[in-house]
């Protein structure tokens, strides 16, 4: 089969369409899937390997996490409702505890029913400690209180859990901006990292989510959850393409150990036949 440009295609038309369908059904996006396949076919000896390489090159280069030389590492966790923030914090806290670091978690979701109770279970399982205030307290106040305590008592890691919110809720996005500001007020170099948790089964709405959250909270990394499910997380390609944010971890289950570092090559391979 010949394609414009004169190179010979390694795959049949039907095989290329199947690959494109696969990318679409993995939530890579209709337009992006078409462009990726089109570009790969035009390269000399258009092949799955060429496609794989162009997809891997779309993933942001892995920069080291912004770990401070001294004082606590402060991590703010944000994202839309139900994506897996609280559970992910349990997993991250466990990981740091296993490295011998002390961890303090701030329960800044003061709104949702049993949010603090849920986090308390994870914090206990991780062997970490928690700061909480009364129900309905100002989340910024909890964040401030947590950072202050974390610094004063020399914790290695401070993690702030926040309430889920949709990016279209002006009031809640303002609240998040305030939480971030207050964290910096409590400790000028904080937050060192702001990670947005994205559900691996989300469709193209994830683009707007990341866009708005980044604007408001200064997102510096992503965690993609529920990749143990039917979602292949192809949205990651779309997010990498548009925002270049590093994907720090992926969630692959509901238990403390179900957290893995993001492996770009393995991820791209999973999207291709």
């Amino acid at each position: 089969q010949l394609v414009p440009g004169g190179s010979v295609d390694a795959l049949s038309e039907e095989e290329w369409l199947d690959i494109e369908d696969g990318l679409i059904m993995a939530d890579c996006g209709g337009e992006l899937a078409g462009e990726l396949v089109h570009k790969a076919r035009k390269r000399r000896g258009g092949s799955v390997q060429a496609l794989k390489e162009s997809m891997i090159s779309m993933l942001p280069e892995v920069k080291a996490v912004n770990m401070p030389e001294s004082g606590p590492f402060v991590l703010l966790v944000v994202g839309v409702n139900g994506t897996g923030k609280t559970t992910t914090i349990g997993k991250i806290a466990t990981m740091f505890r296993q490295q011998g670091r002390s961890v303090l978690v701030g329960a800044a979701d003061t709104f949702r029913a049993a949010a603090v109770e849920q986090l308390a279970v994870w914090v206990e399982r991780a062997g970490a400690e928690m700061v909480r205030q009364h129900e309905g307290a100002d989340p910024a106040a909890v964040a401030f209180d947590t950072i202050q305590r974390g610094v004063a008592r020399n914790y290695d890691v401070v993690i702030i859990d926040t309430a889920g919110r949709v990016q279209t809720d002006r009031g809640l996005m303002d609240e998040l901006a305030k939480v971030r500001r207050v964290i910096t007020k409590a400790y000028p170099e904080a937050p060192h990292e702001v990670w947005q948790v994205v559900d691996g089964g989300t469709g193209q709405n994830a683009v707007m989510q990341v866009d708005k959250f980044r604007e408001v909270a200064g997102t510096s990394g992503l965690v993609v959850t529920k990749l143990d499910g039917s979602g292949k997380g192809g949205i990651v390609l779309q997010l990498s393409h548009r925002f270049g944010l590093p994907i720090r971890y992926v969630g692959v289950g509901e238990s403390l150990e179900d957290l893995m570092a993001f492996d770009g090559e393995a991820f791209v391979t999973s999207l291709l036949p």
Partner: protein, 290 residues
């Protein structure tokens, strides 16, 4: 946005003596991309495109001075038809009637249980809530708090399995004279065979008059597989779409309708217990078209 893109095409086609198949195919290509962008599953998109093509090749487009507009209307009607389904009230004919809620982790089941309870209390029903989620930390506490907020009884089912807990809760609801028992379950992935077996057992154990899939409106292409698998497991009678306030296009709704034929009954429009509305097919069709 689809309506803008189609507006351009409609403009180009205005006053054309007839719409060529080439023009129509160009229009369908734009529509296809817009539907995929709105998270409509690929097989459903294909089905819709062939249906639109068939109707568009008919007389009405050829005669029209605004063929582009006619094509848009054909698509809008196809969406609304697919989403329309038969509009009927929840089946609450048994005493107690059990409403089973199932779905993926974090979809909004527990919050929806509270919302549904509030709605039915407002309709004069005596409602109780129960949860058989023994996995998620503080899951049952979460529902208990919501029960308090909407002023309904929380029933603590007993047993060593979700099915046993469910059965005991139904018995208790009967003894306490409730019209309706809303049964919240743990979130699960459709690829988790053990948990899909569990939800089958729970459904079989309680003879629910309504078996509702709670689905996050921002779900992508896998909404199709999710709907199919839950339908096969519990024979869904309806679906509730949550988090529609996230300005999602909501193509997942079409995937549910197309694959199961099951009607979408309600939509969640926010985090509070009163953020709950009856599903409006015309409005949803408009959102998907952008």
């Amino acid at each position: 946005r689809l309506s803008e893109k189609l507006g351009d095409i409609a403009h180009k086609l205005r006053g054309a003596a007839r719409v060529s198949e080439a023009d129509l195919d160009a229009t369908l290509r734009e529509m296809r991309l817009a539907l995929l962008e709105a998270d409509v599953a690929l097989p459903v998109t294909r089905h819709l495109m062939s249906e639109v093509r068939e109707r568009a090749l008919g007389a009405e487009v050829a005669k029209s001075l605004q063929p582009g507009q006619v094509i848009i209307k054909i698509l809008n009607d196809a969406l609304a038809d697919l989403l329309g389904g038969q509009r009927r009230d929840l089946d609450l004919s048994k005493i107690p009637s059990v409403i089973l809620l199932c779905g993926l982790q974090g979809a909004g089941k527990t919050t929806t249980a509270g919302k549904l309870a509030r709605l039915l209390v407002g309709q004069g029903k005596k409602v109780a809530l129960t949860s058989v989620d023994a996995t998620r930390p503080a899951a049952r506490e979460q529902l208990q708090v919501l029960a308090g907020q909407v002023d309904v009884q929380y029933i603590a089912g007993e047993g060593h399995s979700a099915a046993a807990m469910a059965r005991s809760a139904v018995k208790q609801a009967g003894r306490d004279g409730h019209h309706v028992l809303i049964l919240d379950t743990a979130g699960r992935q459709v690829v988790d065979d053990e948990l899909m077996r569990e939800i089958r057992e729970v459904a079989a154990a309680v003879g629910a008059t309504e078996r509702l899939l709670v689905l996050d409106a921002m779900t992508g292409q896998t909404a199709l597989q999710i709907a199919e698998q839950f339908h096969s497991a519990v024979n869904m009678s309806g679906c509730i779409l949550t988090k529609t306030d996230a300005d999602v296009r909501g193509g997942a709704a079409l995937s549910v309708a197309h694959s199961t034929g099951v009607p979408i009954r309600y939509v969640g429009t926010g985090e509070k217990v009163d953020a709950f509305e009856l599903f409006d097919p015309q409005r949803m069709a408009g959102r998907i078209l952008g």
